[in-house]
Symmetry: C2
Subunit: 232 residues, 2 copies
DNA sequence: ACCTGAACACCGTTCAAGT
DNA sequence: ACCTGAACACCGTTCAAGT
């Protein structure tokens, strides 16, 4: 297990992100990434042990874009802020997202975001025994929503709602019929995301019984990244 | 756009599922699936237009394992039942799951499950304007939880909680410290899943104001599949 | 109607070698 | 210390042909 080089890692990750942005996640290959910065595919193996590791690092690189909440926020604003940040990062890099539920995210940034969540739930007065579960539920809802929105599960293909209802093999769909008017309405995803987060935070609030705990001042979530000249 | 053959589709899907079960999702290739039933890779293109289409069909095949709720259930039991069914299917085929959030699921089964959800929410007395969002939220939580559980996001790699806290580059983690006792406890995922579903259904119940609507008797969700002899 | 064979343009990764 | 070149064992898919 050789030691990995560090020097050009950021440059390589940027190249990978460019490939994803321009040609999609499946276009990312050791060959395509290497080519973009004038290297042989094999050169990348000095920096990452495998393609998997490279992709994990790409995901970590994205999460570093998450901004910490502004100082002086209450627990609820902290949670709202972080949810919106995650969604914003996701919308900036839609094609990379499928990685997030497929690969375990163990970068230091994830840990620090989780820590902010824990602190906020403590500050909300949630009993400690309930906090890990509520933190996971919150994360699941935020990530699940964002992923569904960005990668097609909500879209349900190209069929409009009416067409979907009339699909062959579907048979009788009394629920769809009763809700036809609602289902044909276009969806405001921004509003839906806000409503979901809000409702979950109500749920959190209802769980709080204990005495509240003060929130620490937030600090930057990631080290400032080294600057890299791009050769495009 | 040629018409696709039907005859041996079930046989091919079974072969694909066997490959996934034995060697994982990445081992599924036109070559490996074809080989398992004594065909040339090219023969599959008579039944599926591409590997993508084959994988979509595999996902559809899984969803057909979902059992409809027993007759005479109240709306709440219907929703609980369906959540547990989805989780059970997921646990039976863990490696196939990543497909579910990556590919839009438009099989007739999805439609019929959605329809049961709509009917249950109507029966619960939720105002129609709220139902599509709540249905999506429910789906997101169930699928998100199951996926996280099965494909590693909750696992967070091989590090135990204590080891994770001590990771290099993590810095100060006051939230983790305050919750150390809780975080070191092993998690009962069954209980956590039940608690999440329960809490969401409470949330649904709090949304119900209108007069309730009777539930129709549930019917089978999928046609019984044609029998296929396996040649192993 | 259903399937095969050869070919094309790709993959990730190993190993030994080059400066 | 950092990178290259050739090679291996794979991919999905097209096209023309075979029975």
């Amino acid at each position: 297990m050789r030691k990995l080089k560090e020097s050009r890692r950021p440059e390589i990750l940027d190249a990978a992100l460019q490939v994803v942005a321009e040609r999609g996640l499946e276009a990312v290959s050791m060959r395509s990434v290497a080519q973009r910065i004038g290297l042989t595919p094999m050169a990348l193996y000095g920096y990452f042990r495998s393609k998997e590791e490279l992709l994990d690092a790409v995901l970590g690189r994205l999460l570093e874009e998450i901004q910490p909440p502004p100082p002086g926020c209450g627990w609820r604003s902290v949670l709202v802020h972080l949810s919106y940040e995650v969604r914003a990062v996701a919308q900036r890099h839609p094609s990379v997202l499928p990685l997030i539920l497929t690969r375990p995210a163990v970068s230091p940034v994830v840990l620090r975001v989780n820590d902010l969540l824990y602190q906020a739930l403590l500050a909300a007065g949630v009993p400690p025994a309930e906090i890990p579960r509520l933190e996971r539920l919150l994360g699941t809802v935020v990530i699940g929503h964002v992923l569904s929105e960005v990668s097609g599960r909500f879209g349900a293909g190209t069929l409009d709602p009416a067409g979907r209802r009339a699909q062959p093999g579907a048979g009788e769909l009394p629920g769809h019929e009763a809700l036809a008017a609602e289902l044909d309405r276009p969806v405001d995803w921004d509003a839906e995301f806000r409503a979901n987060v809000d409702e979950l935070l109500d749920l959190v609030e209802r769980r709080s019984v204990a005495e509240r705990r003060p929130l620490a001042e937030p600090r930057p979530l990631a080290e400032p990244r080294p600057l890299v000249e791009r050769r495009t």
